[in-house]
Amino acid sequence: MANIKDYIPIAGESTIEDLQLIARQLKGKVIQNINSTSLGGGVAEILNRMVPLLRELGVDTHWDQIKGEEAFFEVTKKFHNALHGRPQEISKRDFNLFMNISNWNIKNMNTYGDIVFIHDPQPIALVKKRKKNKWLWRCHVDVSSPDRRVWHFLMNFILNYDSAVFSSPNFSRKLPIRQFLIPPSIDPLSDKNKELPQEVITSVLAKYNVPCDKPIVTQISRFDPLKDPVGVIEAYKLVKKYIDCTLVLAGGTASDDPEGVRVLEEVRKRAEDDKDIHVLLLPHSDIEVNALQRASTVIVQKSLREGFGLTVAEALWKAKPVVASHTGGIPLQIKHKYSGLLCRSIEGAAFSIKQLLNSPRYAKKLGENGREHIKNNFLLTRHLRDYMLLFLSVYHKEDVVYL
């Protein structure tokens, strides 16, 4: 695993010096991250990189997970979908189950941090344990038009935090607590994003029987209705009428996402009549994801809702042309026609994919601009800086802070 100095060639020495400078201001403070899973999904991925680097910078950082059984995660997945605005049947029993498991965690978890940093709705109720320490709630979900019942339920807890953190300004709403904008980030040195030799890329394509004799259109995402894999197949079919290409739909599942298996089955069924569609259930292999992205001609992220859409940043970092939905945090990463193409429908996605496949020079320029935009704004070093400033902000209420 990379250490902080390995980022100097990408971010610059003075950027790393700035991180060390802020870290010194946090000396003596214990930061405790809490979420619901250590594996799978964007949150765990970020914390897996963030925690060791914060420690290396001298910030005493810890990461704990709440406990929960499958029924609890079924309920939190319903909450997740409802916050994204997808209609869900949530019964009183579901709310009670959420509170029962939350109460068990409240009773059994030690919230020892000077700053307790809660990620997403699953552990949100822990704030009931709040004493004199500071509490931050990090919302990774698109809450631009949430189900009101679930949002009001969560508000009972949110109000007790010092600050909330969102990934996009679209998710903010009037709150009686401070709220900050911190988009997530990608790690340029991780297995998922580092440079790969061509042999590795070729061998991954061979392993999954993906031919490289025609353009490859790829969506990498968990198998989740909100990522609209079926919509991607529909868009591909519109493209395929004019351009011979291959579609790769690849993703894994997260341990807190019981819906994944059902969606994967549906996608496989929709794809079974076309041998140029490759539906790949990947193990947790970041190198394989990296290779598939690098082998792609165009990368798609046709989400119906999106917290941030880290796969877009990953694709742009590899200078790939991207077609992605105008939702959640995606417009922060793509300026339409400058660093990618934004779409709002299956037909729009298909048109943009055709445009990029037929205009490789234009596609290349969009990819190059996209890479620079990610380099300047969405790398792990910026994220580390923002999190440390966030931790400092709980001790400073003013707009200009002299350290």
């Binding site: 003075s14 400078l21 802020i22 631009s144 300004p169 679209n170 300047n376 902000s393 350290l403």
Partner: protein
């Protein structure tokens, strides 16, 4: 590079790191935008007139003014967008004065373009008011003379350059940018100080601005030798 002038007071480089705070306030048409521009804290006006400078270091595809971008791209009011983008921010010494100019520009436009107030953004494309929280900290870099100064300019982060050129002048309401102040008062080189003060930093990317500053200083030193 020969030492030129030993100064009385060294220049201490600071850096400015910022966190974006959300207000939850949003506008979906020109009237709402105007109303909120009048009401929000100065930190919001500062944020929306400077954010792009730091976000698009490589190539700036948009004006360094969120209001101009939004009214052009989302509401389709390109003429107003152009007027807002061409507000000469460098002329203003305070956020208050800059805010007044933005308000006057929008009010005048609405008065003369009645239908502009009937246009609404679509869902998800509203203007979201945010503000900048600045964390200012000294760096390890100190310049004792002009050649030190030029060398350090090559090393410091663009956040440091940003702080001394933009933030110190407008947000902290100093009479000029920090570099010009030091070069004039400590080194006594008014000619060079004026040359830097006369740059319009809003029309450069920060990487370009760094290079322009280095060139101006190195050219001056070469000509004096």
């Amino acid at each position: 590079m020969p030492e030129l002038i030993k100064d009385a007071q060294p220049f201490k480089f600071y850096t400015r790191l910022h966190l974006t705070e959300l207000t939850g306030l949003r506008a979906s048409n020109l009237s709402q935008l105007l109303k909120l521009i009048k009401k929000v804290p100065g930190s919001c006006i500062y944020h929306h007139t400077h954010r792009f400078l730091q976000q698009h270091q490589y190539l700036s595809p948009e004006p360094p003014n969120d209001f101009a971008y939004w009214v052009s791209e989302v509401l389709g009011e390109a003429a107003l967008g152009e007027e807002l983008a061409s507000i000469d921010t460098i002329r203003f010494n305070t956020i208050r004065a800059l805010r007044e100019e933005i308000i006057e520009t929008i009010e005048y436009y609405i008065k003369n373009n009645f239908f502009s107030r009937l246009k609404f953004s679509s869902e998800g494309e509203e203007f979201h008011f945010m503000k900048s929280v600045s964390f200012i900290s000294p760096t390890k870099y100190i310049a004792y003379n002009l050649s030190d100064f030029a060398e350090i300019l090559k090393k410091v982060t663009i956040d440091s350059i940003y702080f001394h050129i933009f933030e110190a002048r407008l947000r902290l309401e100093k009479p000029a940018n920090d570099f010009s102040c030091w070069i004039e008062t400590s080194l006594g080189i008014k000619e060079l100080a004026d040359r830097i003060a006369n740059l319009d930093p809003y029309t450069y990317t920060l990487d370009d601005l760094r290079q322009v500053l280095i060139n101006v200083i190195e050219n001056y030193m070469r000509n004096k030798n």
